[in-house]
Structures are given as structure tokens and as C-alpha cells.
Amino acid sequence: MKVATPKVLPEGRSPVGAGLSLSGVTKTFGHRHERVEALRSLSLETGEGSFVALLGPSGCGKSTVLRMIAGLENPTSGRISVHGDSPLAVRGRHQMGVAFQDPALLPWRSVESNIRLPFEVAGRPADDALVDGLIDLVGLRGFEKARPGQLSGGMRQRVAIARALVLEPVLLLLDEPFGALDEMTRQRMNVELQRIWMKQATTTLLVTHSISEAVFLADRVVVLSPRPGRIVEDFHVPFGRPRGVELLSSLDFHQACDHLSTVLFSSIGGLGENGPG
């Protein structure tokens, strides 16, 4: 059932390997009595500079995958490497950018100062020109001095994205960064995220439960089964970049989404009409 299509790659990027590598990763939470097997024997290789989306029903372990790659959790068994290194090593070199569902802005800092935070953590002098450029890139010109409390949800997420990019990371991890936004804002944010990403072309893993978001943004969509999460589909998205809003109403786009939707439904095993979002 796989839609076999040649992957359109920007120049100079290898399709497989050298990016993110998970081999036989299993994760079990809890202790003897209350064990939860979140992931079972997950293996995945992504290319350096590729954009991979992780799609799956709620609770299937998507966030757990991401948190393990970020080094926030340890796998129960299996190995994870990023560009051939351990997650902790990448983190220690301050080469990781993250944006989670909660933008986690520090409320007492201005927009500018929140974006500058990674420099302070890394103990490097802040690159003001870069911060300034990112503010433009995420469309927050005029709000540099605003505090998070004065911003809308979408604006806060854009600050979080800018902050994730400011150290020019080799790895970008996004966990439903637009999950809390309405459909319209979300779509706009997706277009912006793609534009930003194309400038830096970082190895990226996006966790989402939105099929259209995954198809719109990613080079590859990996679908997980319900818990314990296993890969049930590895789908190469056949669209070139940049992708515009008009793609959303194209037949190809709908076919791709329909296909993934079928995969998801059959993996869930007949939940009826209440499909995944």
C-alpha cells in the first residue's frame, strides 16, 4: 500500500544514515507492579538534514521517543545516536534545539531575552545580529521587548521556535509545538516553520498527531502503532519544497493523508468514527 515515490532532496543531503539513529529501543515505565511498556523495539534511521515526522495516536509513546533522543529519559534497552554521538554529548556541546507543546518561556524575560537564553546557558557571548534576524524570521518585529504574558499562544510558540534555532543546532526536536493552536493559526505556523527550516536545514524530528501537519512539513512520515509503540508505516512524502498553502487543497495531498489515515485506523483496530486528529 506504500506510495512509492522518489524523495525530493535538497542538494548535498544524504537520504539515509548519519542523522538520527535508533536501534532496538524499548522503554518501560514504572516498577514491578505498575509497568507500562511505552515502546517496543523501535528502530529508525534518518538522514542528516532531513525532516521526519512521527505520527501516532495519543499515548503511543511519541513524546517518549523525543524525550529519549533529547536525553531527558534513558531507553530501557537499545541505542540512540545523533550524528554518531550520544544525545548527552550533543546536548553538552549545546547543539540541540527543542520546542515542546508548552513553549516554556520564562515569564520575567522579554521576547528578546528569552531567545537569548540558550547563549547564556552555553556560556557564549550572545550574537545579537542572529537574535535580531530570528525575530524577523518568526515575525515578531515590534514585540522584542514584550513579555510572554502579553503575547498570544501562536506568538509564544514562535518565540519558542526562535529560541530552539538560535544556537544553530545540528538537531531540532519538536513535540506538537502547535498542538494547542487553532487550525488556522496552526496552518500559518506550519508555513512559517517550513520557511525557517529551509534556511537552516537541520536534522529535525517533529512529533504530531495531525496527519496534515506531518504530510505538509516532513520528508518522511513514520507512523507508530498504539502502545507499545512500533513502526507500522514509513512513508516518503512526494512533494518538493517550498510547499505552499495551495498544496493543502491538491488531490495528491489528500491522497497521501487518506493513505496515512487508513494506516492509522487499521493500526488502532476499528475505533469507529473517532479517528486520530
Binding site: 516498577h31 546536548r91 556541546r93 527543542v98 515542546f100 516554556a104 520564562l106 515569564p107 520575567w108 510572554p148
Partner: protein, 531 residues
């Protein structure tokens, strides 16, 4: 400060045992160190006995059984009355919101008033035993009131709105939703108030009586019976810890199944900012103060008590400001107050700095924290102020004793509150710093400390009056200076005008500190939780 106890309700027993094993090990080590110090460094100075001799004395005296029973018998009544009054006040403040600030101020006043100084007056009104019950109740009221008000407010807004939509009023909301939602918070409040009730009774004992832990502790201190003083202190400590643990166990069972309210569910009533806000705040304080003075005057007039003991606000005003000799009275009062305030301030500062440093270390070293925190939680239920005779015995009658009491009274509760504040930083923010390659120290400085600022001020709000009270008690019992000593002298010499004036001055100073620091706390809290 109260949420600290919501710990570990669902952790498996085996893990709890293992965790406690570490703390028990640490306790054993500390006891051995104490024993060694007592026979080496402190040997021959007769101030620090060995733990074995302390235990031996307690054993030989049957754990002061008869006095213990007397104290407990008074304490449970005080606990019941104090908690009942607190719950009543909390319910009224919710149903009639206009009364809230006055009632809360009343609660704060019961906390700030130097219990030992009102004791002699309570004896006149209620008799010796009644006075101790009243003092015990006074020590409880504030703790439970704060817990109840916070708990009742923590009810989820959506559920409250459901009741409104169904046509229910404030009363229905209180009965159907708030009462239940407040249970976890209330449970911790009532548990902390169990040792507080014993503290109140012991302070009452210092005024006299035939039996009671406080009575015999003071006697032992005055007779320089070192081992005996220590063992009474140890027995009191254990009893307070047990009272706390037992209440907690019952309260946990009762409130099981109710999720503790999240901070985010608490919606503070919005304050006006700027000059208008300050003006409204000031007007409110003035109104509350006036209300308090009028109530005081009415109570005095209607009580039928001799004006020899009981002074009205007008009497105090005449004594300090307009009457004959008022200039002398005033300068004496101010002199004593400055002395007390500087001793208390020094101790408070030392206690706070130590608490901040200790909290930082505990956060950066979680393994250490796991072993130490249970001690700190237990320490909090030790009535430190009631240990004053012990401090007097060990550190003598000088400045050090007073400062040390103030520092200890500040340190333990502040440590708990600050650690909790440091831990309250959202996981998303601390995860972020980790992902950016920051160390624990970076997380502490960049994220946890700013998020803990409200907790720091919340701690200060409570510990500043606490330090003053501790100093007053220490001055009353062990040193020969300050406003506390002056008041003890007033009682002996029946100078009730000066006693009332002193209480008023201490109360005003403590209340001003409480509300001033509290307003800083509110401001910072808004800033920190703005997003």
C-alpha cells in the same frame, strides 16, 4: 508552605522503606556524632548531655507521663477550638467576600500577637486552664485558616461554573464543590496545627501551673538540671512529631481520592495596579485597623472586666501619646522595641540566608535531599519557640540565645517553603535548560531561583513575625533586655498599661511587616506566573 506535605501518597511501600532507611541511617549517624561531641568538645561544660543520658533520664522519669497527659489534655481542646474557629472564619469569608480581608487580618493578628504576653490577661478572663486552652487555640487558628482559605479557593473554576449554571449560589458551591476540593490542603493545615496546639499549651505553661511539659521544662532550666531539660525537650519533640504524623495519617485517609489542587487552579482576585491600587490597598488596611480598634473598645466596655487589667485603645493612646508621662513611656517602649527588633532581625537574616543556601544545596544534590528532607519536615513540627529554655541553658542569657531562637524559628519553615518554591519550577522549563546543555547549577540560577522568589517572600512574610515572637519569648524567659523582658516585668509589677501598649506595638510592627512583605510577594507572584 502547606503543600509540602502532599508527598509520596502513591509511592510503593518497598521504595518508601528504602528511602526511609537512608534517613534512619542518617539519624543514627547524627546521634553517634552527638554522643561523641558530648563526651569530647562539650565534656565538663554541663550544657550538652549525651543522647544516652537524655534517654536514660526520660526513661527514669517515665517519660514525664503525668505532665505529658496534662499538656495533651489541654492541647486537643485548643486544637479543636482553634480549627473550628478557623473553618468558620474561612467559610464566612467565602460566602460574604466583603468580610474576607478583615477576617484574614484577624487570623494574621492571632499569629502575630505574642501569646505569652496575652497569657496573663487570658488567665484573668478564663482561669489558668482556660487560658492555656485559649493560647493553644490561638496558636492553631492562623495555620488552619490559611490552609482552609487556600484550599477552598483552589476549587476548579469550571466545576464552580457548572454549579452556577445549574442555578446554585455561593452556598451550594461551598457545600458541593469547595468543601471537597479543599480537603488535601486542609488535611496538611490541620496536621501542622497539631504540634502548633502543643506549642501554644507549652508557652501557656511558662506562665505557671502545677503540671505540664512547659512547667517542668522551665523549672528544670532554672535549676540548671541539664539532662532533665534536654529530656523534656526530647519528649516534647517526639510527642509533637507523633501528633503531626498521626493527624497526617488520618487526614490522608479522609482526603484520599481527592487530587491536590494545582496552583494554576488558584485564581487570585485581580488587583488594581499603580497609585489607585496603592490607595485602595491603604484604604482597606485603614478600614481593617479601625474595625479592629472599634471591636477592641466595644469588647473592653462590654466585658465588664476591671479596667485595672484591661485597657482600651483610648487608654493605650493616652499612655503612649497624650497622657501624663507619655514621652517617657514612649521612649521606653521604642527603646525596647528597637532592641528586640534588631535581635530578631539579625536572627531572621541569618536564618534566611542559611535557608536559601541550604535549599540551593539540596536542589543541586538530590540524593542528599532525599535523606535530609524527611528530617526537615519533622523538624518543622518541633515547637522551636517552646525550646527556648533549652537554648537558654546551652547558650546562656546573652544576645546569642535570642538571635539563635530567631534564626532557628526562621530557618526550618523557610527551608521547607524555599525548597518547595525551587521545585515548583515547571518541568518544561527545567527540561529546556537540560536540553540546551545546562547543568543543575544553571537550572538553579536561571530557572528555579526566579520561580522561587514568591516562595522566598512567602517564607519571609511568615518568618518575620515568627522571629519577633521568638525573640520576645526568649527575652521574657531568659535574657534581661528588650520589650519581652519589659513585659515580663510589667506582669510582676502589675503595670498593665505598659503591657497592653507593648502588645499593641509588637502587633502593629508584625502586621505591617506581614502585609508589606505579603504585597511584595503578590507582585512577584504575578510577574512569575504571568505566562
Amino acid at each position: 508552605m502547606i503543600q509540602a506535605l502532599g508527598v509520596s501518597a502513591r509511592i510503593p511501600v518497598s521504595r518508601q522503606l528504602r528511602r526511609h532507611a537512608r534517613s534512619v541511617g542518617l539519624a543514627a549517624v547524627l546521634l553517634v556524632v552527638w554522643e561523641l561531641l558530648a563526651v569530647t568538645v562539650f565534656s565538663g561544660r554541663f550544657v550538652v548531655p549525651t543522647p544516652t543520658s537524655v534517654a536514660g533520664t526520660a526513661w527514669a522519669n517515665h517519660f514525664f507521663y503525668t505532665d505529658l497527659v496534662v499538656t495533651l489534655n489541654i492541647s486537643w481542646k485548643g486544637w479543636l477550638i482553634g480549627n473550628g474557629a478557623a473553618l468558620l472564619l474561612a467559610a464566612v469569608s467565602l460566602i460574604v467576600p466583603a468580610t474576607e480581608s478583615a477576617l484574614i487580618t484577624l487570623g494574621v493578628a492571632t499569629y502575630c500577637v505574642p501569646t505569652i504576653a496575652v497569657g496573663p490577661l487570658l488567665v484573668v478572663v478564663y482561669g489558668p486552664t482556660g487560658a492555656k486552652i485559649a493560647m493553644s487555640a490561638l496558636s492553631v487558628l492562623f495555620v488552619t485558616l490559611v490552609a482552609a482559605v487556600t484550599g477552598l479557593r483552589a476549587a476548579p473554576r469550571a466545576t464552580l461554573e457548572m454549579v452556577t449554571v445549574m442555578g446554585g449560589g455561593r452556598w451550594k458551591q461551598l457545600v458541593k464543590v469547595r468543601a471537597r476540593a479543599s480537603l488535601p490542603m486542609l488535611a496538611s493545615g490541620m496536621s501542622i496545627s497539631a504540634p502548633a496546639a502543643i506549642l501554644g499549651t507549652m508557652i501557656g505553661d511558662y506562665l505557671g501551673g502545677a503540671k505540664g511539659l512547659g512547667v517542668i521544662m522551665l523549672q528544670a532550666q532554672q535549676q540548671l538540671a541539664v539532662s532533665r531539660t534536654w529530656s523534656i525537650a526530647a519528649v516534647s519533640t517526639v510527642v509533637c512529631g507523633l501528633a503531626f504524623a498521626a493527624t497526617m495519617a488520618i487526614a490522608r485517609r479522609v482526603s484520599a481520592g481527592v487530587e491536590p489542587a494545582l496552583d494554576s487552579a488558584i485564581h487570585p482576585t485581580p488587583l488594581r495596579r499603580g497609585l489607585a491600587g496603592v490607595a485602595i490597598g491603604a484604604a482597606r488596611v485603614v478600614a481593617v485597623v479601625l474595625f479592629g480598634l472599634v471591636m477592641w473598645e466595644i469588647l473592653v466596655r462590654s466585658s465588664g472586666l476591671s479596667s485595672y487589667f484591661v485597657k482600651s485603645p483610648l487608654d493605650v493612646w493616652q499612655y503612649c501619646v497624650s497622657g501624663p508621662g507619655s514621652a517617657t513611656h514612649r521612649s521606653e517602649l521604642i527603646h525596647g522595641l528597637i532592641r528586640t527588633a534588631s535581635d530578631a532581625g539579625l536572627g531572621w537574616l541569618a536564618g534566611t540566608v542559611a535557608a536559601v543556601l541550604a535549599a540551593g544545596i539540596l536542589i543541586v544534590a538530590p540524593t542528599l535531599a532525599a535523606a535530609v528532607m524527611p528530617f526537615v519536615i519533622v523538624m518543622r513540627s518541633v515547637p522551636l519557640i517552646a525550646m527556648t529554655p533549652l537554648i537558654g541553658l546551652v547558650f546562656g542569657r546573652g544576645l546569642l540565645g535570642v538571635t539563635l531562637i530567631a534564626a532557628m524559628v526562621t530557618f526550618v519553615p523557610s527551608l521547607v517553603t524555599i525548597v518547595e518554591g525551587l521545585r515548583s519550577a515547571p518541568a518544561a522549563a527545567t527540561d529546556l535548560i537540560e536540553c540546551l546543555g545546562g547543568r543543575r547549577l544553571t537550572t538553579l540560577v536561571k530557572v528555579r531561583m526566579p520561580f522561587a522568589m514568591p516562595a522566598l517572600f512567602a517564607a519571609a512574610k511568615i518568618s518575620m513575625p515568627g522571629a519577633i515572637l521568638g525573640s520576645v519569648l526568649a527575652e521574657w524567659l531568659i535574657t534581661g533586655h528588650g520589650i519581652g523582658h519589659a513585659m515580663a516585668y510589667d506582669v510582676i509589677s502589675s503595670n498593665f498599661s505598659n503591657l497592653w501598649a507593648s502588645i499593641a506595638v509588637i502587633l502593629v510592627m508584625s502586621l505591617v511587616l506581614y502585609f508589606f512583605v505579603g504585597s511584595i510577594e503578590t507582585g512577584i507572584r504575578r510577574r512569575v506566573h504571568a505566562a
